[in-house]
Symmetry: C2
Subunit: 208 residues, 2 copies
């Protein structure tokens, strides 16, 4: 389905996602959204009676979950956890270069803009971050990382990616993202070795 | 000197710094700046004939360099590089908790907002990031990290802090910042050990 034949609501949501990525929440006006979505202005309040805040909440959720599925797809397609991490970070670096450093995390700019100014939108961002942490944590556990360690490692992985995006977009240089990927993969490899050692030493004698 | 007795230009710059941290560039209007700085509206264009962009450029530079001096002070006061890293990250986590998750990096929100929309302000942010990278890189080298490795490690350190701020502010939880500090210190400790090993094996025979 081409963009123009999509239902009006979908066009509004997708246009807003794109504009939030590029210019954030406060930099995106409703007039620009309806103009670029080729939608009548009234349709915005028809689909989102709560206005920009309701639209923003929906866009944070939809783009955040879409990004999660995208990253999970790349990660799960790789043979193992370390290759998965490197593929995700290297893929993100490639996308940055290909999109003139516009296309990074869909909710990062908005998350910082609203953190201290709009509690509804902040909570929406926090829910997405929790969803990403849970997803990464599950995958780290499946790979052998201890449960107690997996959440912290997942937080570190996502932090490292988000922070690398800040430097990469600001400096127009995708290397920070690749550098982050190399270091995160290294830290995860170490956590896997530590878990393996611990399993080996705590295994009951009779089963050795 | 209390805030109100400071020269008008200083009050405008300091108020803008505070508002940029909390609500970003696009969320901060000139009317709010002059109102909270207790300055006549005309004084803003008197001191900054280029308007918001000129004020923004000056604030990115001044707050970015102020933050650099602050972090350098904490870092240099610690006995060694690893304690310095932990003190900086733990201190940042403490400040977040004490300021209701408002006070993190002074230029981060702005950097993301302007990355694809205002080249003058993007360049100002890039200059600050370069200044931070140079500062961290110098300190890592002084501690024994090899020169070729020090820039990548400095980029990773700053990325990790910036990304942890995104999660911490969004989730109202400073743990991501402490977690980042622990992992960065660990990675730097390893780089120091690797550099030491390399120095030991490449030292000329006669001097062993």
């Amino acid at each position: 389905m081409s963009a123009s034949t999509k239902p009006t609501k979908d066009r509004i949501v997708e246009t807003t996602e794109r504009l939030f990525r590029r210019q954030g929440f406060n930099g995106t006006g409703l007039k620009q959204i309806v103009a670029e979505a080729n939608a009548p202005f009234g349709s915005l309040y028809h689909f989102f009676p709560g206005g920009k805040e309701q639209l923003g909440t929906e866009v944070i959720h939809s783009s955040g979950l879409m990004y999660q599925r995208l990253v999970e797809g790349i990660f799960d397609a790789a043979g193992d956890v370390l290759a998965g991490i490197r593929d995700c970070f290297d893929g993100a670096a490639e996308v940055l270069r290909a999109t003139d450093y516009e296309d990074a995390c869909p909710i990062e700019t908005v998350a910082l803009e609203v953190a201290s100014t709009n509690e509804t939108l902040r909570v929406a961002c926090a829910e997405i971050f929790e969803s990403w942490i849970a997803s990464a944590s599950t995958r780290l556990q499946s790979a052998g990382v201890e449960k107690a360690r997996s959440r912290e490692l997942a937080i570190f992985l996502i932090s490292a990616l988000e922070g690398a995006f800040v430097l990469a977009r600001g400096m127009r240089d995708a290397r920070p993202v690749e550098i982050a990927g190399e270091h995160v993969a290294h830290v995860v490899a170490e956590a896997l070795r530590a878990a393996k050692r611990r399993r080996a030493t705590t295994r009951p004698r009779g089963r050795r």
